[in-house]
Symmetry: C2
Subunit: 289 residues, 2 copies
């Protein structure tokens, strides 16, 4: 039940894909009496199974961060219940801002965190006036950003680097997201990307612009995407030039890297396992304006 | 100040385009002590102008219904203040779920309601599991709907008809949205349309489908779009055949028409005035999957 001992489950496992609006959660991981995604999900599982079971999350999300498709593993205590029934039963028990969107039986020993090969986060930045219909899900800046400069800078994130400059605000040693020995702050980023996308909540009339930062990596340090988004925003504002990212990667000093973008703009988009296609979105250029 | 006497303002007018998340409002129009968009906007205008002024809304929206671009006219009491300053000042005074997205000076006698030529509403229907990241803005059905049947049925709405079968529940006589004599329940619908659009809150993985009903008309009866969406959903479920819309238009009896779709799926999308392009979205087919 503790988030500190996520041993792979013995026996058959369930792979749950869940979605949550992070606004009213104190993050994904259990923290005493606070309202967390893990506490509410484990409580629903306990009601369904009639016994307490630990749920292991593929990625930790901070307070206010959303998940479109977080993946969770849990022991399968009701092997005779159809997957769809398990999903319906859990959703009946969960609050409106947390839902199970898919249930799969995945055999013995599946571990949502150790078995994940990549994770994708998206950070949405609205450059324009206040937008009540999207405010929960976007970071906002008042003025246009230089997309070309941001894209050039983002491409420097590609590959294996020491991301210490983008790690945290003071949580201490980054948690290891692999079974193997801790890798310190080295991670591998694939296809970092900033693109202009169409706002979903109103007609695009030129009074603003929606940018989306997409980052896929084998793992993330605490607040890494929000720190990357913060640095890219400073570059987009021309407060820094595009080579700044490269400098930060070389200097590996968090104190030099500037602001952390607010939590509510960030969504854990997907988690990939063996056999999952990495770039479902790569072939889809039609979401750009 | 009263919503019952919306006389065109004397003197120079402001055209305010506003957006709101309708979840926590008791609709757009002032209603005693309830929290309404009109009451909050008029209160902000009074603070800015130092005197009370009435705000006239292009369209009335029910409790729970959203607006992407509602249009409001108000007398211009601060002719020396730049439009952008007025917007910023009002937004400082308004709550997070209501914002002014544009301010324009439009000369004498502009009337947001009488001068509007068309209004566009969009009703979003998610066919699939619970979706916490979109729940505030979608109506939901558990299973797939027959899009072809719904599209065929929607096209029968095109043109000038008596929409009595789609009017209200029980508010009595529909309000007139034209200066001219009340037209009863006759309205003209342009380009009614149901299309499949990409969900904005997660990767489209086949576990659900987002449909959007778009209706442009010269005016709407109370709950007309929600009643249309409700009828189209019944057709999409194959509980009714596509010719049902035509029958309802002929019978003009609300009691035959079935369910009213829930308010939270509906958004007042745009309001058109002389010179506005009707089909900004018509040229954009790339928002379909």
């Amino acid at each position: 039940m503790s988030s500190n001992s996520p041993a792979p489950s013995q026996g058959p496992s369930l792979k749950l894909t869940i979605s949550y609006d992070g606004t009213n959660f104190s993050g994904s991981q259990r923290q005493g009496q606070r309202r967390t995604v893990q506490a509410e999900l484990e409580s629903a599982l306990a009601q369904l199974f009639g016994e307490e079971t630990g749920a292991i999350f593929a990625g930790r999300t901070d307070s206010g961060v959303h998940a479109a498709a977080q993946v969770v593993s849990a022991p399968d205590r009701r092997p005779n219940l159809a997957e769809s029934r398990i999903g319906l039963a859990l959703n009946d028990l969960l609050a409106d801002d947390l839902a199970v969107v898919r249930v799969e039986r995945v055999g013995t020993g599946f571990h949502a965190r150790y078995d994940a090969i990549w994770r994708e986060y998206r950070y949405r930045i609205w450059c324009g006036p206040r937008e009540p219909l999207a405010a929960r899900f976007i970071g906002r800046v008042a003025n246009r950003l230089d997309l070309d400069a941001m894209s050039a800078a983002a491409s420097d994130l590609q590959g294996t680097h020491d991301f210490a400059a983008f790690a945290g605000g003071g949580e201490g040693v980054p948690w290891s997201d692999r079974k193997s020995a801790p890798r310190g702050s080295e991670r591998t980023i694939l296809c970092p990307d900033v693109r202009r996308v169409r706002p979903w909540w109103r007609e695009c009339d030129g009074t603003g612009e929606l940018l989306e930062v997409r980052v896929v990596a084998d793992g993330f340090l605490p607040r890494m995407v929000r720190n990357i988004a913060g640095a890219l925003i400073e570059i987009g504002r021309a407060k820094r030039d595009p080579f700044w990212i490269r400098e930060l990667l070389e200097q590996r000093d968090r104190r030099l890297a500037g602001m952390t973008a607010p939590a509510h703009g960030l969504t854990l988009w997907r988690v990939g396992y063996a056999g999952d296609e990495l770039l479902a979105h790569g072939a889809r250029q039609n979401d750009e304006e």
